[in-house]
């Protein structure tokens, strides 16, 4: 198509708009909850509700309270750097969900894969003595080990799906809990529990304890005082790599064909089972990489007694992916957005009587909306068509002819 399609009628534009609408509605829903609580809770006031609402929307720019006690906003390099740091694992778990979804699989197993990656990374990073092996080599081994462990953990539901046709959602949920218990078990019997700092219970040593940590790659110069490191760059590179694999290569073509229609892929001689397992393994590797980069930062501590809970970073990969319509490049931005929400939640807890769970409410509303984003997109399409119809260059193609042929197809299939 050489002719220019009107901006509003392009599929991509509509996807972006649908996502933006989802985000706005999600934030608004959060604001409404905060407002209602402020209104009906005697210990709070409408004023505090207003503060809460402002923090939900502008949490990233919060700089605390001014001398007069009112909220102050502005650019804060520490918050920005921390936002990038927290976005790193979110981008990767988002990629995990997105690449699986592109191949027709709903990977709700990212939390378990994330935990598997966590365990492998921490064991490698802490058990290999840096006095014998150079730290940079340990870093690489730990990173690759985390990816491999995640891949393995993702491949399990993949195999169950491919060979026994077990619903991957259910299998993923079970492997999540198995992972949580297994990881707790492994650390429980390990010698990696932090016994040096007595104030901490049930934490594992930081990897910096063994001299292993991700290089800053000059980012600390831009965002001084924050946790940011080179991990975010690696995450972005991985996103670009996924984009290339899935849009430019025959391998990506095979995986996508298999996801869109397993039978047709098989008919075309594509090994459907292998594709499903590989898709899940790649997805798992991404989640595992997310865990590696988070824990290899050197300034993070893992709470090992995790058998009762699954890491939210894993689940939050779902909204990151869905908001990005599973486009790996878009995942970079939606991951940062989700990280922004995270920061806003922290500010909310720190500065008001509200708590960070409101951000989870917002996230869930966004996921809910993305379940029918197609409806929103169609609605947007209808709007655009009306608009274009009044203009001089009325709708030249899209989407009227498609609808027409679809109706024909239905007739012919009668």
């Amino acid at each position: 198509m050489k002719e220019k399609t009107p901006l509003l009628q392009r599929d991509g534009t509509r996807s972006v708009l649908a996502s933006l609408i989802s985000i706005l509605i999600g934030l608004a829903a959060g604001a409404v909850v905060v407002f209602l609580v402020g209104l009906f809770n005697k210990s709070m006031s409408v004023k505090s509700a207003w503060e809460g609402i402002r923090l939900i929307f502008l949490g990233l720019f919060s700089t605390g309270r001014s001398a007069s006690g009112s909220l102050s906003f502005g650019f804060n390099p520490v918050t920005f750097g921390n936002m990038l740091f927290r976005a790193t694992p979110l981008i990767l778990t988002g990629l995990s969900v997105a690449v699986a979804y592109k191949t027709g699989l709903f990977n709700i197993g990212a939390p378990g894969q994330y935990l598997a990656g966590t365990a492998a990374t921490l064991f490698i990073a802490l058990e290999i003595p840096s006095s014998v092996v150079p730290a940079w080599l340990i870093w690489i081994l730990a990173f690759l080990g985390g990816m491999a462990a995640g891949a393995l953990w993702g491949a399990i539901p993949g195999m169950l799906k491919a060979f026994l046709n077990i619903n991957e959602v259910l299998a993923c949920i079970m492997t999540n809990w198995i992972s949580a218990n297994l990881v707790t078990w492994m650390f429980d019997v390990s010698n990696l529990k932090n016994t040096v700092e007595n104030t901490k219970t049930a934490y594992i040593y930081k990897t910096s304890f063994n001299g292993v940590q991700t290089p800053k790659m000059l980012l600390d110069k831009i965002f001084p005082g924050s946790q940011v490191n080179g991990g975010i760059i690696i995450a972005i590179l991985l996103a670009i790599l996924m984009y290339i694999v899935f849009t430019k290569t025959t391998f990506g073509y095979e995986l996508k064909a298999c996801g869109a229609n397993r039978h047709a892929a098989k008919y075309a001689g594509i090994k459907d089972r292998r594709s499903i397992v590989l898709s899940m393994a790649i997805a798992g590797a991404m989640a595992g990489a997310g865990a590696s980069l988070y824990w290899l930062a050197g300034n993070t501590e893992f709470y090992w007694s995790t058998y009762q809970s699954l890491p939210a970073t894993g689940f939050n990969g779902i909204p990151v992916a869905l908001l990005a319509v599973c486009n790996p490049i878009a995942v970079i931005f939606t991951g940062m957005f989700m990280s922004m929400l995270d920061i806003a939640g922290q500010q909310l807890t720190a500065l008001t009587a509200y708590n960070e769970y409101i951000t989870d409410v917002i996230i869930s509303v966004i996921v809910y909306l993305s379940a029918f984003s197609l409806v929103i997109k169609l609605w947007l399409g209808g709007k655009a068509k009306k608009k274009a119809g009044s203009g001089p260059d009325a709708n030249a193609e899209d989407p009227a002819p498609a609808v027409k042929t679809a109706a024909n197809g239905k007739e012919a299939g009668e």
Partner: protein, 343 residues
């Protein structure tokens, strides 16, 4: 032994009732992945209701007088409240899945994320911590049926049957079993049940016979929500000492597995729930299970790590699914939005 049976029932009953919740949704054609979330929500609502009524002081008097009829009635009322609000919460799924023809897996996942988020947000505001408990006392002292209520002496021996089913049990267990039986009969023996099942198998056929598919699917999802909400409260009451933590430890998902293992049929589900209940019970209480009553805690003495028992139910679920998935038969039209135009 009677301890083992009682404990198994405590886990099996919520599993059974929530698996039946799954059956009603899926037999009407909607995959209800949100069982977990609805349970969390129902547990919160139930605990909050108990707490509020305690705070209003209405039942303290009954408690003082040991008027256990009033207390059990209060418990029943709480179950109803949890069921109603569970049903209301499930309407979110019904609306997305039926009216907007949304992806049911994502819709269900959204509810699973929403319930703990909302619940924890509110719990933190109400209780200033991450757990919402009863205002006074614990569930055992308030609601448990003990042999003394039937006029037996504290030291009286009731025999195996009596000590298993009449002492230190919750009324909810029997209510749930009763509800389970009634609803199973409704599913198979009534016009409503026949029509509901037809919508999950072939909605086009149902529609051509004048059956309102949308209405039936709403009914299926709403019943499902009510059962899951009630099951959530029963779970919190009996296993978590009537506390809500924004978490039911994957119980809703286990119920889904029980449903699949039971092949969407109530009788098989009851059996599967007992089996899973047993494993859950072992996982939770392996250290204090004395199987043959000789004072030897066999499982604890094997010396396996606690985490092994904890992961056992999930591992067994996977293995069971692996063996049964080939022969299992889901309702044919589940998960597919019904589109009138697509005949």
């Amino acid at each position: 032994m009677s301890f083992l049976i009682r404990q198994t029932l405590i886990y099996a009953v919520p599993l059974m009732i929530v698996a039946l919740a799954g059956v009603f949704a899926e037999r009407s054609g909607v995959i209800n992945l949100a069982l977990e979330g609805i349970m969390i929500f129902g547990a919160f609502v139930g605990v909050l209701f108990v707490r509020l009524v305690q705070q209003w002081g209405w039942f303290d008097a009954a408690k003082e007088m040991n008027n256990w009829v009033a207390l059990q009635g209060f418990l029943l009322l709480t179950m109803v409240v949890a069921a109603i609000l569970g049903a209301a919460f499930s309407l979110l799924l019904a609306f997305a899945a039926i009216n907007l023809k949304a992806d049911q897996t994502i819709g269900g996942t959204a509810l699973n994320l929403m319930a703990p988020a909302l619940v924890l947000f509110l719990i933190r505001l109400i209780a200033n911590q991450n757990t919402l408990q009863m205002a006074t006392g614990d569930s055992a002292s308030w609601f448990m049926i003990k042999k003394t209520m039937f006029g037996f002496d504290k030291k009286a021996k009731l025999g195996f049957f009596g000590s298993t089913f009449l002492d230190k049990v919750y009324l909810t267990t029997y209510i749930c079993i009763l509800v389970f039986i009634i609803l199973s009969i409704i599913l198979y023996k009534t016009r409503f049940g026949l029509r509901l099942r037809s919508c999950g198998e072939n909605p086009q056929a149902a529609d051509s016979l004048g059956i309102n598919v949308v209405k039936m699917r709403y009914a299926g999802v709403t019943i499902s929500g009510a059962l899951a909400g009630m099951g959530g409260f029963v779970y919190a009451l009996t296993t978590a000492n009537c506390a809500s933590t924004g978490d039911v430890a994957g119980f809703g998902f286990l119920a889904l597995a029980v449903m699949i293992f039971g092949n969407w049929k109530p009788l098989n589900i009851a059996g599967a729930a007992l089996l899973f209940g047993l494993f859950k019970c072992i996982a939770a209480a392996y250290a204090s299970i004395d199987i043959n009553g000789d004072g030897v805690f066999l499982l604890a003495n094997i010396g396996l790590n606690a985490n092994f028992y904890r992961l056992l139910p999930y591992l067994i679920t996977l293995i069971v699914l692996a063996f049964t998935s080939k022969s299992s038969r889901a309702p044919k039209a589940e998960g597919i939005p019904y589109d009138k135009g697509q005949r």
